[in-house]
Assembly symmetry: D3
Homo-oligomer: 286 residues x 6
């Protein structure tokens, strides 16, 4: 695995094995019928457009899970920008094994690379500003680890992984408790002491309430850039400790303007919920 | 489950439970700390743009898996077009349960509806022509069943599910065997007798070879519309039994022209590999 | 794995591990108490009657799953006929491991070889005729992959694997739809285009209906040889494209007569539902 | 569950779900295409030969796992002899569900009934003699629980379930330890105190050794009836406490003669390794 | 489930099912042989010493997983102190089911109650002081959720659940990075923004380093009470924002003195690594 | 694995993997953020008190499951007494891997060693007497294999593993059947013939009943030493074949007196239900 992310290989394998199982089922009827058992081949993994590559360890592992004798030579690092035509990896081994692994391996690589590519565009858009592009929990069911991996490879940062490793208080929580102040206090008492308390706010009066309540992070939800600007001023006039996060319907056109308000983080659901697969293919016989 | 698709509920549950597990982990720290155990609430599932809805049984089941006492009233059928603002479902029950289920349930519904929506646009584009829009194996790893479900809800048809339930002979198979003719013959002998034999071809000479070899389906891969036109003529001059499939880099602009060549099927990877999540959200307190 | 069959090793391992688990449970109390931990032994796998061997890769894998240091030398190929007394394999390694693996490994090998042996008797009976002996879905629960493997090793062919990879229309389907013609048409529209349509018929009038409806395969169910003969004539007078399958209560006495009617396939449930284990044992100290 | 056998339903369900999964895969393409979603039907489970029925709870559970709304009325008890033509159960409910469950439910019922039937024949053969017919570990991989259930339903008794719940010392154990006496002593010390010690012997001198060593059970392996007779005399002249078991190549012709020697148990591998499926089928529209 | 803890029932069930499986295996041979299938009984869950009860939902669920018709009437709440002789619950239903569930249900209840009891003793010892008793990751393998549940029921608080939901920098991390300051900065950048940064320190100079580096929480590891006192003074002279945690070899004798130094949290491994089972038993026939 | 215990490695791995999963979850955030990917380290496993070590194969395997390149040099054997300060093992390899494995590996080792240590104290207390110290089914849920392993490493013996591999008749069984005599007879008929019949008795009249009924083992439950003495006399006056087991509230003070009565086995729940973790830690940089 690359970068600052660690996970037990066994857990990753289980996801990949399920993906293999849904494609291969009780066997590849075409390949079984046509390809001699000991036939070998060489192939190249080729970029068919410009993109940021991510997910090569998973790509490689799919082959390993099907046939550990297939050899892969990975020539690029996750997170690097590749040009159309680039040979990203070489593959050599049993033809049956390569054909069976091909689609599953590409599916995971193309999705993860698509995520890295879109993330890197947002990161580039805010270049020079002290702001983090972060993801959300809007990931493909069962693929959160991989989706968030793509975000990091593209230069983004991860938000909390799930409901279990971060406190984020929303409207409904506040309503049930009876006010922002009470909510922040209850959260501090109920959650373990290594977690910060983040609160979602919709307007300036809620911003002030959150500040007074001692929130560690204030999320400005779906605000206009103008309102965000004022919110930042209100907060920064009181403290530099609190983190400010902007959230809601972000796109490449307006992200730099939003970043310019002085916020610390911009969270973007589209990074993982609306992914365009990077165009990558295996070229055989090379 | 809707339409002509059947699957054991237990298999679907397993996918949903894994998606829940990756989000909830060892518990929702925010909700546990803030929402009283017996607090109840009502919410509505609201469309925030126009789209074709798909995946409501899965959406509902996520709530059921977390808390069988939560009541959902589904007001729309999978496959129906909904307008922005439409209330698709009502939800009533334990607040903790609803908050914990919310994101996972939405993630699956938004993806599947996104797939149905794009599919329906392609289907509309070829309205009146005798052609099927079909999917591919380019699905999100672990989600093939759900992705293909979305395609059907959008009016498309499914291609083979995986490597196990259909014979599709590609270049590499042909090279290893030594010619289209030999490949088709070997496939007929090796695969069970309920499977047709489909062959991928790249030019007119391969089309003729495939015809002679007795292929049941001929896939025209990445051909120009002009070449497709000729291929159809060559094939139809010989037989009406063989199915003709067009494949490769399809988009909404050219799909009708392609369909006009007289082919039977158009397979489109983007239906499932480049999905834009439909914009849907839960509105609480309604 | 042998022949034209491919499956991910991980799926096969799971079945074998469950078989090991049900036998070994929390440990072999006899062996633990009696055999010194580092004791080694040599043994031979010996045929105790004449049969067709099948399942050697599974036999070997059981030992590998328990102790990868046990060495097996396989001397026969799956599908070969062995005489009583033949040494099929040599085994050498830790005595505890060999004793623990022995029964599970033999159970799978004896069943699969039993299937191959019976299949090969049917295949021999129709020697020289252009007909395939095929299996059915009447397999031991959880062992379909292995049972169908045995059929292939014995020279037979596989029918569809399960309900998912082949269309076979029966009485009940036809009744629910309202006629053979409608059923075939609906099946073509509902199933993906790589699947042929097979219809089960009970008499000549149904044969004609199926023909008219354009079925790809017609299964003659439980017909007398005489009626089969007529059915073949009716069909072949119209087309050579349609496959004809005979099904129901087949035995070694009448199979050649049935094959002589000109049908293409004979499906036999007994191949897998009424198996006699081949007599094979481990001889230690050799 | 019937009789004196108990097992957690969850463990049985897991085996049945895997059997369902291997048959249904990603869906029954025929039924999905042809049977309307809300179509209902009635069917009867009919005996097509005389046999002893066993496995009805599993048969019923397969339907329950696929669709809990399908209603079954079981009319016979496991272990009862049924005549050809007997209606064993009535089934009523969703047609799709019934068609999908049919084969898996029958496969388990036919195998288990086949086992019960053969067992009951052996039991009848020794009627009036004080001897138990017992099974072995020669069961279909993954189906031991079900196979042993069939034996009990047929009037037989179970031997140890696996390697973990009974001590059975064989040649190889004795050789490794250095004699029957040492082996029995080591087994008593190594195994927990609730287990008896059984020893396999091949001739009269080993019988004596085993007796002297204090074995609780002596298994006469592959002896002639004459030798068995002498072995029983030798043992009974010393003690009535020790159990005597006969093992090896038993059949219906000689079992009564063997039983007449005065042994206590006869273990028979064929009960479970060479099963003929009982002929049972679903009759629809009844 | 009680209190502020939430977890999907499915995950808890899986742990309980495994515990049942290891005890029941292929069946309770004694109960199967002796208790008639439809025999029913009533029993009471009785405290045999004074303790704080915890784990009743798990106790109840074990019965439910084995036989949903068994009725339990829970009379006490988790977290309540019970006296020896107290009837905690009534149980009524199938005798076989109750006997099979008994041991597994008691094992989990006795352990969790033992944890709650010890925790409550520590909590009582620091009564009136503004300090939290917290647990550690020193739990029984596979039982962390249950162990931490016991701590909360006893009035304690949970520390981070595992390595994934809290940053805790130790010696080895600092050494690898090159100093406390660098470590805190790197942790802030690498971990997501909802996590606080805790640092473990061994002496006063490290306390100062951690303070300067901007740590959110400082853990005083294995310090004398005197040194702790000084550490608290150093920290509080600078800021009231930083949390102070004491850790290492705590016991009931010294915990109040430690708490008196003004620290915020005391973490205690023994709460979960050295548990004495609470004495509880089922009394039948009541 | 050590001693006379055997289990399939795959089953042990599954337990260890679950323990790893609950600690590591989706990654070690601290280590990921701070430790360079290729950083290596050396560490020593050091005893911090005197104890009997047990569980080293499991300790080692945890590292192997996370990173097979980490090297461990085990210097002590399971079952050996180690002094405080002893280096039990050396560890060398990737720092991230070692830090991630550390806690889980220690948790299992400390518990198992704690069990071995307490067991060895009981065993020492009865030195010279012909009596076995045995465990019970009062183990931590999911850890029975490991808990019983610790008992053997400490010089104790195992009782039956679970409900499936030994017959133990208790009050409730006897009440349901109607007397000790009937119960023993029914158990002999219902259980397989390799199992002995143990009966729990509470007073001398029950002792006599059990004797008459032909029980193989008589368990004296919660008797005074005086009553035990008499029970032994009653039994031994009749037979030397029957085993006598003492059970209930045993401690180190009275165990030798109990053993002196002439009983054969003393079963002690506290060996596994009230464990104190042995004090062991990893020392880095050594």
């Amino acid at each position: 695995m690359t970068g600052t992310e660690i996970n037990t290989p066994e857990q990753i394998d289980r996801v990949l094995l399920r993906a293999i199982a849904e494609d291969v089922g009780n066997g590849d009827v075409t390949t079984s019928a046509l390809i001699p058992e000991n036939h070998t081949t060489a192939a190249e993994l080729v970029a068919k457009e410009d993109f940021v590559v991510a997910g090569l360890p998973f790509f490689k592992r799919v082959f390993g899970l099907i046939d550990s004798s297939v050899k892969l030579t990975i020539r690029k690092k996750d997170g690097s920008a590749v040009k159309s035509g680039t040979v990203i990896a070489g593959i050599r081994g049993n033809t049956r094994s390569i054909l069976i692994a091909e689609r599953t391996a590409l599916n995971i690589l193309q999705r993860t690379s698509g995520i890295a590519t879109l993330t890197s565009q947002f990161v580039k858009s805010v270049k020079g500003l002290d702001v983090r592009i972060v993801d959300t929990r809007k990931t493909a069911p069962g693929l959160r680890y991989f989706d968030k991996y793509g975000v990091k490879a593209g230069g983004g940062h991860n938000h909390r992984y799930g409901l279990f490793d971060g406190v984020l208080i929303k409207d409904n929580h506040i309503d049930a408790v009876g006010g922002v102040g009470k909510a922040v206090k209850k959260a501090r008492s109920g959650a373990h002491h290594l977690l910060k308390i983040e609160v979602e706010v919709k307007n300036l009066s809620e911003v002030k309430e959150a500040l007074t309540a001692g929130a560690d992070i204030i999320m400005l939800d779906n605000m206009s850039v103008k309102m965000m600007q004022k919110a930042v001023e209100v907060i920064r006039s009181k403290t530099n400790e609190v983190l400010i996060e902007a959230s809601g319907n972000m796109n490449l056109d307006k992200v730099r303007e939003v970043a310019g308000t002085g916020i610390d983080l911009i969270s973007i659901g589209a990074l993982t919920h609306s992914v365009s697969a990077a165009d990558i293919s295996l070229k055989f016989g090379s």
